[in-house]
Assembly symmetry: C2
Homo-oligomer: 501 residues x 2
């Protein structure tokens, strides 16, 4: 079937709109997946149907589809109803309890990437992993297939990296200390990171306050070679084509199989040619991982898979029971990181975590003996070696290396929550803090965030400030305060719990 | 968030388009499910995002969404980002191997019907049924929840029905003989049926050649009361709201759990207040069910569930190894049914099946002793009682009761396939016949279809006609003939298989 292209401005993933008469005549029900071809270029899209937006004989395509097909308005494309993708049968096989071969796993990933299967089929694959967890062999093949479906960024020397599985607010700034500390010793650490999905700030969001993070693979390689480290956004690199699609469906059905999380992280490391890796697993109330038994299990899976993939790995279990440092939100976190680098000291929870993570990388690289990495990292931070390197990285990525913490604008609508009684801070709720910060506007509004006047265990008097919320508008501040009211994210308890008669 | 409504003509299920700036500002990622409210009226829709189709502050809604919300262009609606639907957690529970309660199953069905969950979540639920089949208790609750999510059509006397699980071409006309035969004895049989989904003709498609089938519940009740039988389309009745949605996802991921098929059929029967039911399971090569062991298992599930639901049931296993009767396609099948009714006789495979099914209903109703129903049904057919009743039904539904077979137009572009050799017809391929008939234009083009000059076991000479394809255009005829070439749907084998030297 041949159709003339009409350009439609809608959505940022390929879509196709057909006239309802054509759809009826060719037996293409609405939401059927079709294959649109221009010579050897192919795009899959779910069909939308309209009586008025496109006339008979025309197909509405949006810019992503036009670009993939390299066609323009007025060109002719061919539409085919594709046969059932092979991966559907593979997914059925898995649901029936059979193990998949390398080839079958690759088929699924290829169909995910090409768009031959959509979110319903992907949901079926993800769902299969709950009652029937991926075997070690299946997981290795999934990681490889996801990595090699991406564009691999190659380096001609050993590549180091550190990665946190996340889930703790305030964590996005740790890499802003750890990466320059590692890079200052000459180790190659081209870190890519994500933007926030459900958290108030991803490392890419926070670094973006200081310098551009959307760089090409060529730029990253050039910068990494020159200054030894980068802090860039991985999303622009095509190193996670399959992963991005999996994650979208995972979020929708709220299924996040452990195996899929490991595949997500390690496939991107493989695509960045990482061969030495430190994994951070924050453990604690309100973190992704709440207990040490689970953390040990996850650590074991990482170690097993890294062994199979030829990646040397160290896993750090870190305290994740409260936010890291004093700040949450891109601009506030960028300020805190910069201040810590400039002064060579800062919040204990931030500095300790950063030098521990950096220290493990230094140990992996043989820059320090086992157990001595932290000490070396702390020295580099205190002696401002980390700061000097950070200035180089900021400049190399196109930012202003001389930026000072106070140059960074933060939301000027503020409200400070105070303690209702005298006592000790016994709990800071990670999940509530994330929700409140997002309600205040983060991560899209970089200036939105929270500053903590207290941390776990601090003694406060009635009326002492607990935390200050920053927002850009009164409305957003108000939205955040409503959630404060609902969640009461910081708990202060008096020493006297109860007085009996 | 308040938005002003703009009408968009796109798709026939609710959609919502937001300006990309609004989407960004309110943190609504593309494809996120939102809740649109007008007072107490609610619609769920996946968000599409555009820079040009709607301006900031506006929301594009299509007619289905406008109708559900009872709003017009220029009205204001409220948009909310719904919390995670409860059924997501219920589905997770099931994937982790736990059994669901009545309340939990109902939650899933309610969220399916309201649109609170979309196809990814539904795919997860359907997928869970493969490794962890629904228990009898879960299936009963699913059937009930699906039925009571619909509008129940109530009658003040016992309701009878017959239903084929389908999969054999030519079967759509059986009900056109069986229903009037049953109704002619005064039994109430308000049959609703579906249009073809993947087959070349559903009973509703075929009956529509003779009379309108899209009637309201009130009309059906009135007609059923008066003439005792109906042959209408169930799709207009809201008796399968949940089922329609499940089926769409099942087709997409090609997962059709047995439990879901039973739930689909019995929930509709429950919604039509059926309390006496005959289930037809065609068995044979190329049918849905290929062997008797499977057929027995399915029959057992129907009997078990009907018992739990208070429906008296008889299950018929019938020969499904070739198409039923001489015709496939709506108009040709309507012609054959009408001719058989008028003459009181016709193709053995059609007449035998119809009187057997009708006979079982007569036995259920006590109109005939066990084993004697078929005889009574055949008598009713031969004595034209079935035909008289069919005329009443046609007239009551708004058709012309005096219509004759030759009045029914069929596709005038024809081609007859002849036997390439002398021998016996050893196989007629159901699946290929369905595909060829659909390629010729059925079910949308009612006149498209196939007429069989031979049936299984017929002796033919070289050049004898095997079957004739009818289509409305040369193009469609050609499409069908290409598939004939590919599938060779009728096999003729000589008696001499091989001559050795």
């Amino acid at each position: 079937m041949r159709f003339v292209v009409k350009k439609i401005e809608l959505n940022d993933k390929p879509i196709a709109i057909l006239n309802y008469r054509d759809a009826l005549q060719y037996g293409i029900p609405q939401s059927r997946r079709i294959r649109v071809l221009n010579n050897s270029r192919v795009v899959y899209a779910e069909v939308l149907v309209s009586k008025t937006i496109v006339d008979q004989g025309y197909i509405g395509l949006n810019e992503p589809a036009l670009n993939l097909l390299r066609v323009r308005e007025g060109d002719t494309v061919i539409v085919k109803i594709p046969p059932n993708p092979r991966s559907i049968h593979v997914i059925h096989k898995r649901l029936h309890g059979e193990r998949l071969s390398e080839d079958e796993i690759r088929t699924i990933v290829e169909d995910v990437v090409s768009g031959a299967i959509g979110e319903a089929e992907i949901a079926a694959f993800l769902s299969s992993q709950i009652p029937i967890p991926l075997s070690n062999e299946e997981l290795t093949e999934l990681i490889k297939a996801m990595a090699y479906a991406s564009e691999v960024v190659e380096f001609d020397e050993p590549v180091y990296d550190e990665h946190s599985i996340g889930g703790v607010p305030g964590n996005s700034k740790v890499a802003l200390l750890a990466v320059p500390t590692v890079a200052s010793t000459g180790i190659l650490i081209p870190k890519t990171s994500s933007r926030a999905i459900t958290s108030p700030a991803g490392t890419a969001d926070t670094m973006e306050v200081l310098a551009p993070v959307d760089l090409s693979p060529e730029e990253i390689k050039k910068i990494a070679k020159k200054v030894r480290g980068t802090l860039v956004w991985g999303g622009g690199l095509n190193i996670a084509i399959a992963d991005d699609i999996f994650i979208e469906v995972e979020r929708k059905i709220m299924i996040d199989p452990l195996s899929q999380m490991i595949a997500s992280i390690l496939s991107k490391k493989l695509a960045m040619s990482v061969n030495n890796l430190v994994i951070d697993i924050p453990v604690g109330k309100g973190a992704k991982v709440q207990d040490y038994a689970t953390a040990d299990k996850i650590a074991g899976l990482f170690i097993n898979q890294c062994g199979r993939l030829g990646i040397t790995v160290r896993v750090a279990l870190t305290f994740g029971g409260e936010p890291i440092g004093r700040t949450v939100g891109p601009a506030l976190e960028a300020r805190e990181a910069l201040k810590t680098l400039i002064e060579g000291k800062g919040s204990h929870s931030l500095v300790d975590k950063a030098v521990n993570i950096a220290g493990l990388v230094l140990e992996l690289a043989g820059k320090a003996d086992r157990g001595q990495g932290e000490k070396l990292a702390r020295e580099l931070l205190v002696k401002r070696r980390s700061y000097s390197k950070m200035k180089e990285i900021i400049e190399a990525q196109g930012g202003n290396p001389n930026i000072k913490p106070d140059d960074i604008p933060v939301g000027d609508k503020t409200y400070t929550i105070t303690s209702p009684l005298e006592g000790a801070v016994t709990h800071i709720d990670n999940v509530a803090i994330s929700l409140i910060t997002r309600a205040a506007g983060a991560p899209f509004d970089k200036g939105a965030g929270i500053y903590f006047h207290v941390k776990l265990g601090y003694r406060v008097r009635k009326g002492d400030p607990l935390f200050t919320i920053h927002a850009s508008t009164e409305k957003k501040l108000d939205d955040a305060l409503k959630l404060v009211e609902r969640y009461k994210p910081i708990m202060v308890e008096g020493m006297l719990i109860k007085a009996l008669p």
